[in-house]
Symmetry: D2
Subunit: 282 residues, 4 copies
């Protein structure tokens, strides 16, 4: 679970960088006249005003700022929204009744579904999935806005009056909602272990497969040896380790000790701290 | 015309920067195993291979590189495609029979339309307009690809096998075609002047309006004085300057000399070099 | 011009049909319980209520009406919006200063651009171009809404609360605005003729080309004969008919009378009434 | 499960209708000359050829068929693709290891994942999810194609050469793949029952709630009575029915017999045949 959220942290860290770049890119100003030639106003005025407003002067403008800047801005919002959807869907999966490894916070006294008192739907992350679509829908119109006729036509204006407030406010709301969901999330480690053991030991099949080939068994034979035991786990929910220990060919190839050693969970988590250092630096 | 293309130069310069950023962002590699835990392979292998390939190791991966990187990449291609459309549409407008201030290169011996020997359609820029749509259509699926289930599902794969080659090759082709169109473009300066003088002197109406208000005429009166003469130009194609010189009220407010001085074209081009310096630096 | 608007009439007539179909398709109702099984409520109740509301009962529902219906509805709005853009762009082209074959209504006393008293921009059709983008952006989220998890998740809800009112109200407004623009449009037939004669007689080049081939001249020779004269019209604005009459080869192939006859405008309009009958029926 | 697939049947039946309409709508032809006026060719030729080709003559065309027809066609493909995604996602959910109520066909000897011999991923439905995105991405460019300049420009052509074959072939492939997946699907009824009983009896909570209110208990009290027992099922996996029978207040309100009667599964399936009749007619 730590890895999952470290992954989302890294993704959102990239998005923070993207948003800062997009904000920087769009933060230009122009006071260059009706066709951008400074005919009636000196460029110094533009520079002065832009500085007061914390903007850079647009190097070359027409009546308006070129709209590729806005397209890039809304495209970036669309990417961030897609990451929100990514995290929301992960949580929705965790909260499935049959999985239940995590859930949006639900206080015990709180009312659930109006019809079904026991139901605990991931309503916030489902909502976030929809909000992501709403933000993302601004991307294409923002790109269609780039091709203004000559010094500008007014076609982009109605679009931006819509998507400007809608996409930014919706994304802001969604980011806050997501932060709050993650902050207060319920985590159920026992269920994680239960789910991993639903087919006892089967998650270690790849490791056994590798060990067999490293012990000199041909890839094809190794695959077949693992698969015939794996299928029994799958169909009859028997214990994979015990099946292997009862399979003469496997025991002959690996030995009892090595088979047992393959079921050590620590094998899979030994590099978690390495990854954390790569993500969080310090 | 120089300003128009300086504007497109600045826009494409921004796009070059964006493309370099997008390329950098997507240039990561991962050899971290089936669920990204380095269970069966040391992180040092990933580092070594990535270095050989000119990639950075993905700080935290699952079975795959996180797809927000790809979404950002295709979104950037979509912005660039929109800029191509922007330039293409400008040229298509210039090449209109009624405007004809510029045109795609057409050698005199070359065949035109198969049905109409005189027709010189802006076929390359019309084609570029369509190609821009083709590149842009990759943006939304690339964003929909971000939300993979858990360590990854395979839903993004078919999408990327389509949009990966299609969007990059189409954009590459479109950029080369656009460069060639701009490189060989025909420019018709006489037609520009003709078009400006279609309604003789009228392009100076804003300057006269400002001069009147600066001379102490109320905004409302100034507007009315300019408009009554402007409409005669519009409807009867009379000469705006002559009309003003024959308008007692205007002459009284500005004087003959000042009126004449307002029709100096240099007034509008005096800052062109300033703008060029801002765009091209040196 | 009549043909142009007959074409738009036909397009909007198709759109009216599509809208009626889309409305019919979406006009279903469901009162089938939390998972659509009528466990706690009899199907007869659904039928009764739907009838009162002018809806058809949804043959099989879950907690909600299936969202492919809504996707089809918003897709249809997107097509209609694209037709609005089509008509708007035609009018914007007509209103170009250099073309000026038509224009949005502009009363003589009305103020134009605040900066430029003579400017008459096609502000309404430029606005319609943007509004079309706003309506169209609802299409993809509506399609992304179709894949609800199991009996329904709530992800579609926030999307529909946004696009439901926004897309329908924007389209309604845009249709009314477009109708009003077309109703009051200014048409300038003299300018149409002027534009056609900008390159005198050249619009007849295809007809001459066909006549030459029908008179036994090879396609290649005919093309060359027409093109060499067409280019002189293009470059020196000479009269195409006079050039042909002075071209011995052309005169030899067609004869003077036949050449003159090729410049009869009625040749091109002879089937206008046929087309009108096809479009307007009676 | 029958209801789930009846629902998909109904959705795909609607899509079949839509596709037939879209095909009908786009099946027009035009041989009306370079600007659509039949100047050089009689309308009778168009009628004759169209009849031979199984097309209707386009009532009014320019050089091309109006592109709103194509927009509607591709929009319809996009809706169908979204329904494919809908069904694919349902199956992917069913095939989750923790749910396992259904799965894509997997023959026992067949190799699974190359790394993990036991893994049975829903690779076909994951692939279908991606293919749906590929088809859907054609919708917006097809709508952007509607606004051709005047009698036509060529911008739509490159778009249609791309999306024409790609969207239709991809959809055709996806429909066949989906049909094959559904045809051969594995269904696990025991797992369905297991999943329903994961929280024993809890699925009946809504019915108990309704019964309590119908027995005269206030909505608020009823909700509280159900919820306090539901939570124990949720947290301790106790049996809901037994908890209710041990809850004096509930027993007082409903009586033992009525409580027991509320756990009859037939209550939920009694209208299944009614629904089937509505969907399949006969």
């Amino acid at each position: 679970m730590g890895l999952t959220f470290a992954r989302f942290y890294a993704e959102m860290d990239r998005n923070k960088n993207r948003l800062e770049k997009a904000r920087w890119e769009i933060a230009t100003g122009a006071i260059s006249g009706a066709v951008g030639t400074f005919a009636n106003i000196d460029p110094a005025v533009e520079e002065h005003v832009c500085e007061k407003l914390g903007l850079r002067p647009e190097p070359i403008s027409t009546q308006v700022i070129p709209r590729d800047r806005h397209a890039m801005f809304f495209a970036t919002l669309g990417v961030i929204a897609s990451s929100i959807e990514n995290i929301a869907i992960e949580i929705r999966h965790m909260q499935r009744t049959e999985v239940l490894e995590g859930a949006e916070f639900f206080s015990m006294g709180q009312k659930g579904s109006s019809a079904m008192p026991h139901k605990k739907n991931p309503v916030l992350t489902e909502n976030l999935t929809g909000l992501a679509r709403l933000v993302r829908m601004a991307v294409i119109p923002a790109m269609e806005n780039v091709a203004l006729w000559h010094e500008r036509d007014i076609s982009h204006s109605s679009v931006e009056r819509g998507i400007g407030p809608d996409a930014t406010i919706t994304l802001d709301f969604a980011l806050h909602r997501l932060a709050s969901v993650v902050d207060k999330m319920l985590i159920f480690p026992e269920n994680m272990l239960d789910n991993m053991n639903k087919f006892p030991g089967l998650v270690m099949s790849q490791r056994v497969l590798l060990a067999l080939t490293q012990a000199g068994v041909s890839r094809e034979d190794a695959y077949s040896m693992v698969q015939r035991n794996a299928l029994k786990v799958w169909e009859e929910r028997l214990d994979f380790r015990e099946l292997l220990l009862a399979d003469e060919e496997v025991v002959k190839a690996l030995g009892v000790e090595a088979i047992n050693e393959k079921f050590d969970m620590g094998y899979h988590t030994k590099h978690v701290d390495t990854i954390f250092k790569r993500v969080f630096k310090d």
